[in-house]
Symmetry: C2
Subunit: 877 residues, 2 copies
Amino acid sequence: MAGDGSDQRALQYEQTLMYGRYTQELGVYAKEEAARLRESGPRRSVSDRSRTLDLLEYDKGRCAKCRICTVRCQKFLISRVGEDWIFLILLGLVMALVSWAVDFCIAICLQAQKWMYGGLDSNVFLQYLAWVTYPVVLITFSAGFTQILAPQAVGSGIPEMKTILRGVVLKEYLTFKTFVAKVIGLTCALGSGMPLGKEGPFVHIASLCAALLSKFMSLFGGIYENESRNIEMLAAACAVGVGCCFAAPIGGVLFSIEVTSTFFAVRNYWRGFFAATFSAFIFRVLAVWNRDEETITALFKTRFRLDFPFDLQELPAFAVIGIASGFGGALFVYLNRLIVQFIRKQKTINRFLMKKRLLYPALVTLIVSTLTFPPGFGQFMAGRLTQKESLVTLLDNRTWAKQGIAEEFDYIGNSQAWQHPQLNVFITLVIFIVMKFWMSALATTIPVPSGAFMPVFVIGAAFGRLVGESMAAWFPDGIHSDGTVYSIVPGGYAVVGAAALSGAVTHTVSTAVIVFELTGQISHILPVMIAVILANAVAQSLQPSLYDSIIRIKKLPYLPELGWGHHEKYNIRVEDIMVRDVRYITLNCCYRDLQNVLMTGHLKTLALVESAESMILLGSIERAQLQSLLAQQLGRPRRLEYIRERSVAEKKRLSVVSDPGSDIDSQRISQEVRFQISTEESTFSPVRPVSPKPLKPALKRPSVVERPTEIPASPNDNSGIALKNLFCASPDTEGLEDDGDVEDDMTIREIAEWEEMQLDEQVNFNNCKIDPAPFQLVERTSLHKTHTIFSLLGLDHAYVTSIGRLIGVVSLKELRKAIEGSVTVKGVKVRPPLASFRDSGTSSSENEATELHKLWDRHNMTLPRDHTPSESDEKSQ
Amino acid sequence: MAGDGSDQRALQYEQTLMYGRYTQELGVYAKEEAARLRESGPRRSVSDRSRTLDLLEYDKGRCAKCRICTVRCQKFLISRVGEDWIFLILLGLVMALVSWAVDFCIAICLQAQKWMYGGLDSNVFLQYLAWVTYPVVLITFSAGFTQILAPQAVGSGIPEMKTILRGVVLKEYLTFKTFVAKVIGLTCALGSGMPLGKEGPFVHIASLCAALLSKFMSLFGGIYENESRNIEMLAAACAVGVGCCFAAPIGGVLFSIEVTSTFFAVRNYWRGFFAATFSAFIFRVLAVWNRDEETITALFKTRFRLDFPFDLQELPAFAVIGIASGFGGALFVYLNRLIVQFIRKQKTINRFLMKKRLLYPALVTLIVSTLTFPPGFGQFMAGRLTQKESLVTLLDNRTWAKQGIAEEFDYIGNSQAWQHPQLNVFITLVIFIVMKFWMSALATTIPVPSGAFMPVFVIGAAFGRLVGESMAAWFPDGIHSDGTVYSIVPGGYAVVGAAALSGAVTHTVSTAVIVFELTGQISHILPVMIAVILANAVAQSLQPSLYDSIIRIKKLPYLPELGWGHHEKYNIRVEDIMVRDVRYITLNCCYRDLQNVLMTGHLKTLALVESAESMILLGSIERAQLQSLLAQQLGRPRRLEYIRERSVAEKKRLSVVSDPGSDIDSQRISQEVRFQISTEESTFSPVRPVSPKPLKPALKRPSVVERPTEIPASPNDNSGIALKNLFCASPDTEGLEDDGDVEDDMTIREIAEWEEMQLDEQVNFNNCKIDPAPFQLVERTSLHKTHTIFSLLGLDHAYVTSIGRLIGVVSLKELRKAIEGSVTVKGVKVRPPLASFRDSGTSSSENEATELHKLWDRHNMTLPRDHTPSESDEKSQ
């Protein structure tokens, strides 16, 4: 047994090199995590801060009263800084400034393009070059800049925010780098004039802003370190994002709730309103100060007549807009996903594009801007108008087409763009809608920070306008029968269309409110509401929302919603979907077990049970905590301490007796390092056949020789030792560089042995954060209830216990699989096999009670079984 | 021991009479509950229904094809009926009709009063009599009618809905009787012209409507029996209530969310929007069909100018309105509570009023209507205007006072009411505000179905108007400096004031949206938002909302919100507030234990544990279930069966042997009734000193004689027997009436003995609904988390377990006490003593880990304790 120990060790050393890379990484990671935890632990407390204040203040040394007053003021200010409303005001202010600055830059960019295009009107080719090159350069820059600085800034950011607000930590999504990349990337992308939107990115930017502000303010107050508070603030930030983008505080709050939340805490409501209102206010005040506006008004103000906004008989037309928008919205989402999937699947294209990452944006921009070139095809689709200009003209309260003839109306300003000498205004609108539709779907796949809300909004407005103009042509004197002539207002139809289509794409109802706030008129409330609801009903039954679609494409860890008809969810139970093979650690495990568990599983937290026999769940421990425990146990400081102890012991031994017997020494050391096994086998007998080796390895003997049962216990123990060897080899390589203070004279083999010994110690959980209340479910909990609890509490996983015993674990993954399985296949195929037992109506109560009655039967043997199931199946359903 | 058995029993019989009333009630109640449960169990299933359909359809007997077609159509319709949108459309339709009808009746009532008042203009005294008598009669009728039919209909109903939506079952609040009482009572109350509102009652009426509709539709489809679905529908109904009351779908949804929910499931959002929009649409369409309106417009349409709604420099005035409204709102809530408490406390008044219940409403109405009598004091406060008329005039877009002189403006129509020859319009407004303020606060305490939203709204509008008129007088040419003169619009101020004051009273932000929808203009969005937010900030820091105030007055089981600064909640744990003395039943308990538990505790559900030693929580059982179990065990059918068995046995005995020994007989019977103790002591020995008694009581001996330890075991066992005696005496009294089929020849004493025997049997939990997954908390869960979980999941109580063992229970009561204690006293006095240990920052982690480490120490004796607390206190906060 002891003879082949050295061979085994040689083998292990080879394996060591093989596993090197992974384990080294793991070791480094564990240590980094431990260091991070250690650093973040002792944060500066309030008393510290006040002391430094005092010190600062003593330096000044003016009159005492003044000094006291200053300190008090400072203290007061600092205590105030922690309050929510200060944070929200700051957030609103910053976001309003950002929004205004971005808008300003975009306007300059677009003006520059127009100026270039206008200046070169002598040569069409030069004009085309200017028209095309400018956006291509901007988009390419935006894509490149984002790619280099922070690839997380790509896209709208709403799907990511939805995931983050659910409690999932997406790394790097809320950093300063991402903020910079997003703001600059967005400005360039929108400045190019491509059909892209500002809303989605602004939700992300506001969240970034809130996260950074929170970090910054945590320098002053301690409350900002609370995680649940940060989540609340992020929710408010989403509202601010929409609010300051459209100057729509109410719509912003509602839209952000609909888009990001599953369950909304009404106590956060005022936060969103407060911040969004303040932000929208500042945003519009900046426009007034900049002399853009006379006073605070809506962004796209309409001037429809108030006394008779629409006739009752026009409502069917509005309903038609709603239903058509529903189909259109679903189509848009489908098209968008199709494009992404097509590009991904086509391997040759994909490989080529992966190499030249900036080629795809440039190509798409080239196509889109070529098609909108005003002297070219752009003349048929009002190509010379920017997105904002088209929207303003579409919402105009004048009728373009009287009796179907476009020429009768004298166009002024931008409205002229819709006029074409050869074409009807209807055809222009149709071309505009069709072209913009696929262009927008294509443009939103470009990897730049961009949203899809505004393009869709404009398309919807155009569609509404089309219907409105048709109605106006059909009923030139209006529909109203008695008395006064109220002509039809096509602008109202445009408003309805815009709300309906954007509502259909995002699956929200609050676009209605956004529309009212954008136009500053609420007179069309009923048509808008009817159209939006119909559009939602149609779109929701056909496709997921754009954001959910992106979530699925990006495979973000998100929990899907339960479908409308979710009644079969009551029959599936947690026990059908849970993972029964739970990774756990026991209270009295040794470091080796810890290491094994860390090596094999990848869950973020691990269950702590009393013992492997009882399996009673005591709590859960984070993976990082365990890693730091392990790193501490095997770390260099501990080893150096061991070396010091050993040398002291050696000196003592040399000074007192020159007895070569290692009996006492090994015994003492084994006590010093608190060796678990040594307490049982302290009567160390040198009678056993010990291999003749130098002194030091003899210290290790107890662990190598006296545990013959442990080595062959598990087949992967070998690799375990090898892994661990290199896991601990990293401090060794460090040791070669900076072994200045203590003489680290251990060889690699010695270290391996020492670590072997360390691993056999029992884990000390004392300075380890244990969550004593991990979420528990019972195996009978229905899928419906589980889903509710998971989405309510933002859980990542929950342990399933039966009478206190850990019997399984359910994570988001299993839940998602179960829901999507039964949602799509309607409970035919993916249905868990056990669920079918419970379907047969009245018998379910028996099933439910079985387990309990089994237990009960154990207690009492002779019992009557007069079963009347009719009474007990009421609640079990 | 056996000698004084008869004395004891005599004593018990006396006690029986004493306890008679209560226990009989309890017994009857238990039986009723059991019967109810039994009846509700076998609901008609779908197959049943289709069979009856088939039968019905066979009776017709026309051609076969037609028959099949009809059946198919019916089946299809029935399957569709179950869909949500059908339900919502029906709900919206019904509520729109109700709202319109109520409005119509109110208008007729008010017109009648005006007509009477106008017709009697020759005699002021008669005029006064007519003016006063009419409302007094209406209010008295309303109060009396409501009192007789359904006292639950009194008040606004929003507090009750808030409680019901939290999951608390308030009996009789959702019945047809209440519906009728509420609708008729409300119509009469509002028809009287008192300052009362329609909104709150309409929320209740809509919920009633939803509940009734749900019940009605459950005749067709099975989904309506699902409780969580019903809650979702009630939430939608609240939105419908507000929506159809003000024709404000968006505001309705938001207001109902703010007022009734703590956590809102976004998946219910569309339901509310859909139903409220449909309802508002129908409500307004009815007005168009009735020729009241030309087309669908807002209820209180304003016509402010669109191009320049307000100047930036007017914003401070709007902010002032907001802040003042905040104070005003808090004052209103305080005044309202003060009046209620004053009337309650004044015992003489109270006693008098309790006798003559209709006196208080009549008195209040008399006072209010006397003061508004137009030729009297009413002339100074526009007393002749109804609530609606005043609101319309207040929102007028013309300026009343130019340069402070009222006479300059030519009043037309209703606006004349604000003009008084001697008085300035400002003074009229001030008088109006002050008088209406206390009148409204007083009127809302009348026990009729009524809300406070609309009166407050009108007062707010008047206050806004006052500020607006002052501003107009101060800046006759407007504030705007450059170029055009934009005069100030006092109507805009009225809108802002209305939103701010109603927002302050109800603690909602969505009054802003309601205001936009009511006026049909959104141009003042920023001033309104600013004022509403400021008003909310002020009011929320001073007083609870009106609805929360009523909840506290009525002592409804509701969980208060955590305050704004709820950071100390993280330090209080469940173990500090939980009740440690939990009522539980064990798996192997006998019916006597069950009875004892039922007698002493009053919790709705009881914990079921494995055994009193292990205390491992297995589930929870509803009280009603246990009562029905007990009733079954002691019920008459069982006893009759016993008598039958006994007589059969007796016959057999008589026929076979004439042996007088009761050995075999008693043994057999004890086996037949599965006697728990008899299995152990089946070797029945007649050697013991048995008192010489007739045969039948001898059957009972085992339970009386052989359990000498049980009688003195608990001091209340005596009363327990007595109670139980009468608990089971109720079937006996029944037995005297209808003992036709089986000869119930048992005497009361015999019955008592038989029941005694029955009680010793072990409980059979087989046909008992056990909830296998009651909600569990760990003792370390923080108060903050507990609050969140309770309000998220709508819990009533949760068990506290430690490693699977039941150690306590937390119910709403404890939680409320803990929250209110620490909210009001700010953690100084009511603070639980244990909590203070954890305050000292870094040491909290030690505390948290103690329990675990204790456990751990049990496992491992010799362990190092190198404690570094700095690392582990991050998450524990």
